[in-house]
Amino acid sequence: MNAQPSALDRVLGLCDLAAGIVRGTARADEVERIRVRLQGPLRVAIAGRVKAGKSTLLNALVGERLAPTDAGECTKMVTWYQDGLTYDVHAIGRDGVARPLAFQRIDGALRVELAGVDPETIERVVVTWPSAALRDVTLIDTPGLASIDDSNSLRTREFLAMGEDRPSDADAVIYLMRHLHRRDAEFLGAFLDRSVAASSPINAVSVLSRADEIGACRLDAMASAARIADRYQRDPVVRTLCTNVVPIAGLIAETGLTLREDEAAALRLLADTPDEVLERMLLSADGFCDGESSDLTIELRRGLLDRFGLCGLRLMMHDVQSGRCKTAVDMSNRLVADSGLDELRRLIAERFLPRARVLQARTGLGALRNLARAITAEDPTQGRQLDAEVERVESSVLDFAQLRLAHLVLSGIVRFSTDERDEMERLLAVDTPVRARLALDEAAATADVTGAALDAVGRWRTRSADPMHDSASAEACETMAHSFEALYAQATAT
């Protein structure tokens, strides 16, 4: 978006500098890791309380039943799912050593054999899985917070580097909550509360998960969940933590994406059950599996419940009987559409991915800053030199200033009017033509474009000079002005 080298390039440059300083020492690996990370896909962590449906959502995003899910607490390890050429599972130990693990797929879900490796010594499990869905994003499944098994909770906290003086391994976070719970706010707050790599409204999105169950699995449950999500999104506390709250029925999404023909056939068969019998079956999970009520075997019915949940079954029965869904494709589309997954995908595509490089650069910057601090303890001159360079890059790259601007405004630290907020969001929209970012018509003449940009620069300069502003507001207005300047430069260059 501007003629300067990109934020990522600048941070990669810092890596070169750091590599020179630490060459031949034990820290060389550390710099290499930062570099690899900067060039890899965006890392998105899926976090939340126990049983919030994290693994199910991960499967829905991948479109495969990859992560094991279970009624009880299931995910015990921080697990990375990344794209690759071959199928492969490794355990990365706390000592940094990678050990290959044997695995098999049962019903599609991965079963990884720890084969004598002490779980305590494993920092994370890395699953490499060729999948288009993982090309731009590496998904990270985390054990639930507020887990009974404290070591699981601890693993997640450790991974997200809560309360520790090191940057997080994730670039962005999808936070799953059921109803907004004190622990959720605490968690998001703590996640925010760290230095450079901290999360902020710009890289966190909240998911109101298991949304179908919130409305007691009624047919209108998702509409009800959408209203609740909307209310949370407008909550001032939530707003300072994330800008969007999306209702998602993870199980329905997962099943929709992985629906098999035999399941569709079973649903059609089930829909032929006499109305009064079917109505009684759909009253409760136990009733659904009651031996007498249907010709389908009990195992089959249990399987269907596992896959669809009571809500999914009620939805499917309603739609099959009304003729809305006939084929497996109809059903699959209907399930995915009802699940709310599309909205989350849209957010990832529009909010996370365009900013992915800057987010990564920012995470890398944080890692380098910590490295500089560590070096300073041993070699003050070189450490300070690196630290100063980090500082210089951070303050001179417009992208970082814009992230900070978005953070300040979205989290409510700096108050903009609604119009100003919209103006900012337009301005910062990545991968968008200059004219759209200035709210101009596509056909607008270049002169109009430059005029509008200059006008905005002047306006925001004046605002930033307002002596009534505190320093954060002044900084935000200054960044707005700078960004319009960059747009002006871009418009005149083309």
């Binding site: 309380r49 719970h181 703590a190 009253l283 300040l408």
Partner: protein, 611 residues
């Protein structure tokens, strides 16, 4: 409930009513009236069962399912925000108790409008100042005195409700903990149950929404294992409020059984309601024993007088002396009333002083902490500490009030026993043992521990009205007050700067300092508000305690006075009776005496069965 379980309380009530009837036939309507009230209380003791759990777990639905109504508002989104008491009544009536400024208001509201009072959306930030809502519903389940307390969820930002709920538990008879079958118990839930069990011995766990999840039985097994690991063993039942409501609407008893609600009701009855009834029966029995002694003495005295006119004269004289002696105890200048007044003032000022002192220490401690805080998490922890400490301070004040009241009663008993010892009644065949007559206070078998606050076993707290008042008050100010403190969190302010660069700019530092100052001011303001509220309530309760002790003893003294007066009159009359009249009267008295002996045996048998 099986018939043998019910036998003792029912038999006790029958015996007490029998004694009341005899008392009335003997012309002692005063004693009869008191016993009838005691029997009624034994039949339907106020048994308070608290329904608690994290929010949106289906607490209000469960209460509705248990009672078989839809009176408690249930919604996908809106959570219950006010403590709601549901008790028996002939008609559905909803009463809101709230505080507006310094005024306490009690209003009847339309049952259809209840949502606007008890939910967060209808009454945001409790702008209406609701302390509690009381609903009466005609219900067979509640007819025996069972009262459900639907509580606001414990989760959410601030979590003051958990602190308020724990503080109330020593005053409750039982607790139904609610968590749904969608997931295992979380660590905060287990921690809460562990603490709750200390304060309230009768805890049930209702695993709700079992209709939605086929794996509910596995979740239940996991939950039981988690609880056992924490050393908590409680009845755990899977239920479905939804199925129950369908079953009730259709009159489908098989579906009703499936809902698990009938099974929960059975356990509720055997674990909480029956023990409460037994205790109430015991209390009534002991009260009736005292009355029996009075009646026996009066019959025996008159019989003696009838048998021997000379002794009759002596009895009349002695009874008259005793009656005059009691006259001294009846006036407002009587020693015991002065003692009650003095002691009540002492307790009141002692409780208020300790409470204010406790609050001062809490605030000072918090102010120091505010200076030290660095992270948002610490700040959140701090507000939780503040909530817990305030809740403990308030509970301690109320427990002190209740124990203070019990001590005053004991002191008065001792005083009266001393005063009456000076009255010698050598001619009486069955002298009234005044020391046992006064004390109708049984030993509470379900002693509750006051949790961390008091540490020791407490008796007589359960069912104390002051507990409910306290809970309503706390569940109002604890969560709301803390919200103010959370909002002034200086750490969030610092974050913007931390996010951008490592050093806080001077201007930013000044702002953080301002926020800290604001937080201190807010904490102090919160403490002032709490002290104001609690101070007012302590005043009200102290007045109620004084009134109830005075009324109780005045009534007892009047009964005793009446007994001696009656004996004196009867003894004098008996001297004047001719022999035929004397024989008739003697026969009648023997009938009374036999009947009393029968009832005493019945009462003994009933009470003996408790052991």
């Amino acid at each position: 409930m099986t018939s043998t379980d019910e036998a003792t309380p029912a038999a006790t009530a029958r015996a007490v009513l029998g004694i009341a009837a005899i008392a009335e036939k003997m012309g002692r309507g005063d004693i009869g009236g008191r016993l009838r009230i005691a029997a009624a209380r034994a039949g339907r003791p106020a048994t308070i069962v608290c329904v608690v759990g994290e929010f949106k777990q289906g607490k209000s639905s469960l209460v509705n399912a248990l009672i078989g109504t839809d009176i408690c508002p249930v919604d996908d989104d809106l959570a219950t925000s006010a403590m709601t008491l549901i008790h028996h009544g002939a008609d559905v009536e909803v009463t809101v108790r709230r505080r507006q400024g310094e005024q306490s208001l009690v209003e009847q509201i339309d049952a259809a409008a209840i949502t606007s009072w008890v939910t967060e959306a209808g009454n945001p930030d409790n702008a209406k100042g609701v302390e509690r809502v009381e609903i009466s519903v005609p219900s067979a389940l509640l007819a025996d005195g069972l009262v459900f307390v639907d509580t606001p969820g414990m989760g959410g930002l601030g979590a003051g409700h958990a602190a308020a709920t724990l503080a109330f538990l020593p005053f409750a008879d039982g607790l139904v903990f609610v968590s749904d079958a969608s997931a295992e118990l979380s660590q905060p839930e287990v921690a809460f149950l562990d603490q709750a069990r200390d304060a309230c011995p009768n805890v049930l766990f209702a695993l709700t929404k079992a209709d939605l999840y086929q794996s509910w039985s596995r979740i239940r097994a996991l939950d039981i294992a988690h609880l056992e690991q924490a050393g908590v063993k409680i009845p755990t039942l899977a239920v479905s409020s939804q199925l129950r409501s369908v079953a009730v609407a259709r009159g489908d008893s098989a579906l009703d059984q499936q809902s698990g609600i009938p099974a929960l009701l059975d356990v509720l009855d055997s674990e909480i309601v029956s023990p409460a009834k037994h205790l109430a029966a015991r209390r009534a029995a002991i009260e009736a024993m005292g009355a029996l002694d009075l009646l026996d003495a009066s019959v025996a005295g008159e019989l003696d007088a009838l048998a021997d006119p000379q002794r009759g004269a002596a009895i009349a004289a002695e009874a008259d002396t005793a009656k005059q002696r009691l006259d001294h105890l009846r006036g407002p200048g009587a020693r015991w009333t002065i003692v009650v007044g003095d002691r009540v003032t002492d307790v009141s000022s002692d409780v208020s002083f300790r409470f204010r002192d406790g609050m001062r220490k809490i605030v000072r401690n918090i102010e120091e902490e505010i200076e030290q805080l660095k992270t948002a998490k610490e700040w959140d922890d701090l507000s939780r500490v503040l909530q817990t400490q305030v809740a403990e301070a308030v509970t301690e004040a109320f427990v002190r009030l209740e124990t203070g009241a019990a001590e005053i009663r004991d002191a008065v008993l001792e005083l009266l026993a001393q005063d009456m010892c000076e009255v010698t009644l050598p001619s009486f065949a069955t002298p009234i043992d005044v020391s046992t007559f006064w004390s109708s206070k049984p030993i509470d078998v379900r002693a509750s521990r006051g949790g961390k606050v008091v540490g020791e076993a407490l008796t007589g707290l359960r069912g104390a009205q002051s507990g409910i008042i306290m809970f309503g008050m706390m569940s109002q100010f604890l969560p709301a007050g803390i919200g103010v403190l959370l909002a002034s969190n200086p750490v969030t302010l610092g974050l913007g700067a931390v996010f951008g660069g490592m050093q806080l700019a001077e201007a930013q530092k000044r702002k953080v300092a301002q926020r800290r100052q604001q937080a201190r001011t807010n904490a102090r303001q919160f403490s002032d508000d709490v002290q104001f509220e609690v101070g007012n309530t302590i005043g009200e309760i102290v007045r109620a305690i004084q009134r109830s002790i005075r009324d109780e003893f005045t009534q007892r003294i009047a009964e005793l006075h009446e007994t001696y007066a009656e004996t004196a009159r009867a003894a004098t009359e008996s001297i004047a009776r001719d022999s035929a009249d004397r024989t008739r009267r003697t026969e009648l008295l023997h009938v009374f005496s036999d009947q009393l002996a029968q009832q005493r045996a019945a009462l003994d048998a009933a009470v003996g069965a408790f052991a």
